[in-house]
Subunit: 301 residues, 4 copies
């Protein structure tokens, strides 16, 4: 269970008490506030606060460009223009604060996004709960045979069973020993900051994570991507669904220009031009390496 009864009661209470504000309000996001979206077996992500909406992006852009912009484009067109031309600062004017419960090995990838504010549960100060990520059977993937950092087929039969048994047993044993070392029953008890070192990377931690919309889009582009590890991708997808309700115009532009977009190299542009002019281009005549060519052909055939 990702949430205790106490936590669930707190959420219900928080959602019961609307207050008037003069600030920008996003109805789509109010709907999500505080509610924990389940992710993986014990994890969740929930919005605890946000600042701004689509109109706030436009408002900031118009400070920069003056009143003239008001007539030239409607809001959604301006947002698309800003995204297309990499104008990042207006998107930085929206902010989001999330409460996330996630396995430590996912947290270790996530924290690499430096332009964010973080308060993580301290295992130096407090005792972690007995909660570990154990993959669902259909997520138990083999090592990819073509990509060092990718997955192949799903494990089957005895091999799958053995892996699950190892992960479960080792988690439970590690936690039992963690408690044994901490125990002050008939002994002094090891310091928490030391005992935690016995816990494996599939234990759950939690944090508050706050970032602006520009940096969140960057996070989503990398982590909701098909090449991202499944266990972080499901968090990114859950967040993306909330962002879509929060700032629908910005999210639409993001989907078109970033998620669904493709970066062409100078060589790639040249190859497209030649092919549009009727030429048959091969890897050899493209000037691309084999890897580049393979990625290029995946997109354009």
């Amino acid at each position: 269970m990702p949430l205790s009864e106490d936590q669930q009661a707190e959420i219900t209470a928080a959602r019961a008490t609307a207050q008037p504000t003069l600030r920008a309000v996003s109805p789509g996001m109010e709907k999500h506030l505080y509610i924990a979206q389940r992710v993986l077996d014990h994890g969740f992500v929930r919005v605890v606060d946000y600042m701004g909406d689509d109109a706030a992006i436009v408002q900031a852009a118009r400070v920069s460009y003056g009143a003239g912009t008001k007539k030239a484009r409607d809001d959604s067109g301006l947002i698309r223009y800003l995204m297309r031309h990499w104008h990042s600062t207006p998107f930085e004017m929206c902010e989001i604060k999330l409460h996330v419960k996630l396995p430590v090995f996912v947290a270790r990838q996530w924290i690499r996004h430096r332009t964010a504010n973080v308060n993580e549960y301290s295992a130096r100060y407090s005792i972690l709960d007995r909660e570990f990520y154990i993959p669902a059977p259909d997520s138990l993937a083999a090592q990819s045979t073509v990509n060092n950092q990718g997955r192949g087929d799903v494990l089957q039969g005895e091999e799958a069973e053995r892996v699950l048994r190892i992960l479960k047993d080792d988690s439970m044993r590690a936690y039992d020993h963690y408690e044994d070392m901490l125990s002050q029953d008939g002994q002094q008890g090891l310091a928490r900051e030391l005992a935690r070192m016995n816990l494996p990377a599939n234990i759950y931690t939690q944090w508050y994570w706050k970032t602006d919309l520009h940096n969140l889009f960057h996070f989503l582009r990398l982590r909701a991507d098909a090449h991202a590890q499944y266990e972080i991708r499901v968090y990114a997808e859950a967040i993306a669904a909330m962002v879509k309700d929060w700032v629908p115009a910005a999210y639409g532009a993001f989907e078109d220009y970033r998620m669904g977009g493709v970066q062409l190299s100078a060589k790639g542009v040249e190859v497209i031009r030649r092919r549009l002019a009727g030429e048959a281009v091969t890897q050899e005549s493209s000037g691309m390496s084999k890897g580049e060519w393979r990625e290029f052909v995946e997109v354009f055939g």
Copy 2:
């Protein structure tokens, strides 16, 4: 006049329409929302959005330290503890967005605070207004004779008059010429991105500026300080007054530990100890340089 009638009407409209929200609301800040606080002769600062309140700081800290903290301290005591021990991340969980109108030479100092999001009015894209900062007579200070970056006495009589006349005349002439160069009346008109180079540093610009509370406190500590230039200090003071209403407990801790606090060097600690033990310490016996000693004596006599 810092605000046009249109802008004033927009503010009145924005303040007329409260909406329900489930987010944390700071009643002290709602009171300030959108209202332009006049600063200098044509400038202002106004809050356009905020995220969080004192309770949000505490909430984030308790994610880190676990439920145990709940009993140990009340909220205000915990906030003081966090500030005293330089725990910066919980303060980063609050965010503020300001709309500021300010002279360019003030903007040039302000922008050095890098951990902030900024959308500035673009003089490449749009035409600046004819608004210049002309110091009030009692701000017309002479160069300090003891401090290269400080002010001395207020200028008087003819000298003051001459300075004011220069500043006013040069501003108006520069702006007249800016308009002449831009004009498309009987000529092509110089590009805006070039014409702006004729404008002096006392012209007003404006921007949206967004930062978190930790970085805002850092800004206030440096810019609301007695050694800051008067023209940025008045902005910092106007912001400080709003922050006090927004997060009163955090602001109280900031006042005690940062604004009113003093950083002692190892040598300073040693001198205090010796003096408390009854010894009469001089600059020579303190191990401090003359400069350090002078600053030390200013605080402790």
Copy 3:
């Protein structure tokens, strides 16, 4: 003259004294060290220090990916792979420190790149020199009639003369008055921090600016671009020429994937596919706005 005799002598002295080091050395960059590259009429840019070379990028990447990468690709292929897949951290392992002399209005654009370290000449503390940017006749561009932030034709004849006369006269007069206000001859003299406000945005300032290669590439992509203002572009181009000698493999990848590359939206990818399949696509049937379509056609015909 951008450099005083004293400065020139310092540079000659600095270049005369090579010392042994165990660090990575880039012969291409050693050649540039300290030498001021002239930019605009009184500006310059010069490298004062650097860290790393192409091999340092590879070395950092191989810490991440382990020994296995050693066989898979040569260094230059690995660098291209990293650039293509937006692996930014290995490029952050190189660092550069520049000394730049530039007009204030250029500095105001430049400083918006926040991930950099800056020490700027302080006009609060010291007195600025009488040096102003006056555009060369062929840079005196009219306002674009199609793009709010662009340039049109070069001004000619009387209009050009009038503009140049205004810029020169106003600069000299502003500086004369700056000196008059500062003067302590028979008067107190206005504080430097105030007197500077009379100086126009074409006065030169200078700074030390330090950043890593990843962020420098981002700067170059935006500022060496055809849409950047000419007066910052010439600095970016001068820096780009140095970077090419410093890290030739990384610069080659940057040129191919960033400077010469194109970001296609999901719609753009779809249009290319349809056209490659023989379909004639129009703006209407593309799903793009007029602006997007125009930019698309500029690249692919």
Copy 4:
């Protein structure tokens, strides 16, 4: 053994080949370059590159303050002045790149310092080595009874033995199972990105970590402090010893003003003044909380 024979041979080779450079060279740092300083049982820290020296700090400051500063102070006095007055930007002009091998639970604390560049060994891409941190007997501390995030006495006898046995056995078993799951001998083999989740937080990882001197000092102030966890403090102390040889003047100022310094609150200043005036101040009459008073008395008696 923290270093393999291959790695040791690479270090010896790197140290054998000095090259001439025109850049600033720190003889004190050249002495350390590449050499691995052992930390904990299998860890190390070594400098792989650096930029700048004490003179580079002074040089950057003098760009800001103009030639006037040249006469006013010698270099070391200027560096002390900058440190005392929180002028951080000149210290940002020096940069250091470290190669660190460290337990994962130490890496998780370290990474919270966001203003740094990092390339970490990827357990998604490669297979981790069988190396785990097992505390030395005199580091096996009990949980503090007064401080939630502190240590008490060293564990003795059977309790100590049991803890060591658990840590060793669980590490070995977790690694055996990691290998079992990865094995492609008669089975597909679990993906590396999944198998790693079984590994406990005392396994060693490694990274390249690059930061500027200002941010490094901030890191050292927090992590070389007596309140930091022992396992990160030993890394901070090893780095501090190198920094002392690299920039002796800056390090001296850092020791005096930061490491040995004390931040007094406004209330603390007031209490010192009253005591210097002969008054006997108690916690009650100080206005401080019990915690503040205890910390105050620890310093000043």
